[in-house]
């Protein structure tokens, strides 16, 4: 079992097991947040974007966050996705405490956590227009190749293994005939499917989707909704979704509504 030690501060470390992401099979909790708070300062004014939020997301659970603009959804997902440090509170992924040691984590350490645990999809897809579909999918492998359970990445064969995994993902998403196309030749729904394949290439434990249907028509939105549902069921992938689309939100196991930075029950 390969272990990547991530140092939080001078004394403590988190052990992230690269084939199981530090979550042992018996543990059913994927994310545990306690009293998360995020305060922004604008001049002398303090804005509490996330206010004492506590929640648990189980492994393999599909949770959607809804709420009006400015309710703190994106800020919360950024903290849960290790894109940002909270002002206070605690966040554990698996049994490992990520935030809550008092000191904010460095950008480098956050990146290490992100690439081990998370896959991200965004409203604007962010495909590189000069790269083909398969090249876009394989892009994260340039920076990091995670040793995944189903395809053993080993030495020089890692490139071949990554290619195979990329091709398999595109096939699963019905994009096998579009591998050598450029993003400009694809529809919005197809581009988002490529973005999903890219997010899954390093086999993340948790998929964060921030308004993934914001740029799509209703038919394509439903298509992406079905895809996320399937991924959650078949791959046991934990999915955290932020959306304004009530139909899409309903496809999740659980809906969490946020208002004024608090979880609204």
């Amino acid at each position: 079992m390969t272990t990547d030690q991530i140092r939080i501060n001078s004394t403590d470390t988190i052990d992230i097991k690269t084939d199981a992401i530090g979550i042992d099979s018996a543990n059913t909790i994927s994310i545990n947040a306690q009293n998360l708070k995020k305060i922004y300062r604008r001049g002398s004014e303090e804005i509490c974007a996330v206010n004492e939020v506590s929640l648990e997301i189980k492994k393999g659970e599909y949770v959607s966050f809804i709420g009006p603009s400015g309710s703190g959804k994106t800020t919360l997902i950024n903290i849960l996705g290790c894109l940002d440090n909270p002002s206070s509170g605690m966040l554990s992924i698996g049994q490992k405490k990520v935030f809550g040691e008092g000191k904010p984590l460095s950008e480098k350490l956050l990146t290490k956590i992100r690439r081990e645990l998370f896959g991200y999809i965004f409203q604007k897809f962010y495909l590189i227009p000069t790269l083909t579909v398969i090249e876009n999918v394989l892009l994260p492998c340039i920076f990091y190749k995670k040793e995944v359970a189903d395809i053993k990445i080993n030495g020089n064969n890692s490139d071949v293994a990554a290619m195979q995994r990329g091709a398999a993902l595109l096939e699963m998403l019905g994009m096998e005939n579009r591998m050598d196309h450029l993003p400009g030749q694809l529809s919005g729904g197809e581009m988002q499917r490529v973005a999903v394949a890219r997010a899954l290439i390093n086999k993340p434990e948790i998929l964060l989707a921030d308004e993934p249907t914001g740029n799509l028509d209703s038919a394509r939105s439903q298509e992406i909704g079905r895809l996320l549902r399937e991924l959650n069921r078949k791959e046991q992938l934990t999915i955290i979704l932020v959306t304004h689309n009530p139909e899409l939100a309903k496809s999740a196991d659980r809906i969490v509504e946020l208002r004024d930075g608090r979880v609204f029950v």
Partner: protein, 396 residues
């Protein structure tokens, strides 16, 4: 499999016109740099070759301006002052002297030369000593005259071509109405000898009424001799000007150094402009891809990965510009040489711009180093992008 290099290369292709213009800017700088270095090497080599082809290291002539003397030595022309032929005997007694040859340069206006006439120069040389000093001269036809009193000429390659003369033909000296027989035509040397008409010195003295007079004395010094001490002793001879070839070279190089400083300054400015162009292009590209860089970081790219990505883009631009500029410098060196020759007050006869593999490599390495330096700031800016900032800018 995709690599960082491939991503960088394809990023450059996103804005083709902008990238092409940046490459052109770098190429022009590389062209200037390579041509300048080639000129630096070529000019000195050509000057050294001209001086070596003189066949002697020290020249003695009547007192006058050293620049006039230099011009006379290297380009030919009329002798402004005369020495007594007796000076040859006194110099010959010096222990440093290995060989010595007296020369008498005369020129007349030839109305049939060219479209509106021109000056024809005749160099009287001693058949006993001059050929031994100019051993590198080879004949296309015929040979040197042997009789010091004969009315015979040996023509340089270009003068024979111009006058359309071969061995056995007659050559008339205008104004003097003296007919001479061509006994030899020299092969091309690439020096001023190509345009010279050689006669026995006694014949020139007789034709031009300059008996007992010469315009210069060429002296070949022994290898072990101390030339500077020898020159000092030569100055004890009244009314003579001593010009050593080292001195001639130094004089010309001094004249050239000002021009070189100016050209070098232009090259530095061109390089600085290219650097600013590269920084601007890459920085624009970083700002345009601000969100995308943030997303790459959210995918797991470390700051070092992003730094490398942007740095490679800079290097690719500089490499392509450097190769294009070096190729231009090499391919267009003849055109550059024609331009340089038009601008220079004096240019030696050999190739002025000598570009070789070493200089091309130096140019390419210099351009790449410039690229590495230029890419530092944009790469650092890109590496500093925080994914959260990019996502926020997306929301805004």
């Amino acid at each position: 499999m995709i690599s960082l290099y491939k991503v960088s290369y394809k990023n450059i292709l996103r804005k083709k016109t902008r990238s092409a213009l940046t490459i052109v800017g770098i190429a022009l700088s590389a062209w200037v740099l390579a041509s300048l270095m080639g000129f630096n090497k070529g000019y000195e080599a050509a000057l050294n070759k001209d001086i070596d082809n003189m066949g002697f290291q020290v020249m003695l002539m009547a007192k006058g301006c050293p620049y006039e003397a230099a011009t006379l030595m290297l380009k030919g022309g009329t002798g402004l002052r005369y020495l007594k032929e007796s000076v040859v005997a006194s110099i010959l007694s010096e222990p440093e002297v290995e060989r010595i040859t007296p020369m008498l340069m005369q020129a007349v206006f030839d109305p049939n030369k060219g479209e509106s006439g021109g000056i024809s120069a005749y160099l009287g040389v001693d058949p006993a000593t001059f050929p031994n000093m100019k051993t590198f001269l080879e004949f296309k036809q015929g040979k040197w005259f042997t009789d010091p009193q004969s009315f015979e000429v040996v023509m340089g390659y270009e003068s024979a071509e111009l006058e359309q003369r071969e061995v056995g033909d007659k050559l008339l000296i205008p104004e003097k109405n003296v007919e001479l027989t061509v006994v030899g035509v020299l092969k091309r040397t690439g020096t001023q000898d190509d345009g010279t008409i050689f006669l026995p010195i006694n014949t020139v003295q007789k034709i031009f009424g300059k008996e007992g007079e010469i315009t210069s004395v060429g002296i070949k010094v022994k290898k072990e001799a101390d030339i500077s001490k020898f020159e000092e002793r030569l100055y004890t001879i009244p009314d003579v000007q001593v010009v050593s070839l080292a001195q001639v070279k130094q004089t010309i190089m001094n004249l050239m150094s000002t021009a070189k400083v100016m050209v070098f300054s232009i090259a530095v400015v061109a390089i600085l402009i290219a650097m600013v162009g590269v920084i601007n292009t890459i920085l624009m590209s970083v700002f345009e891809r601000f969100q995308e860089i943030g997303i790459l970081k959210s995918m797991g790219a470390m700051p070092g990965d992003i730094f490398k990505l942007i740095w490679i883009e800079t290097l690719i631009l500089c490499f392509l510009g450097g190769v294009a500029g070096s190729t231009m410098a090499y391919g267009l060196s003849k055109v550059t040489e024609i331009l340089v020759r038009k601008l220079l007050p004096y240019a030696p006869t050999g190739s002025l711009i000598q570009l070789d593999v070493k200089l091309i490599c130096i140019t390419l390495i210099s351009v790449l180093i410039i690229g590495l330096i230029s890419g530092l700031y944009p790469a650092w800016r890109a590496a500093s992008v925080r994914p959260l900032e990019s996502i926020r800018s997306d929301i805004n």
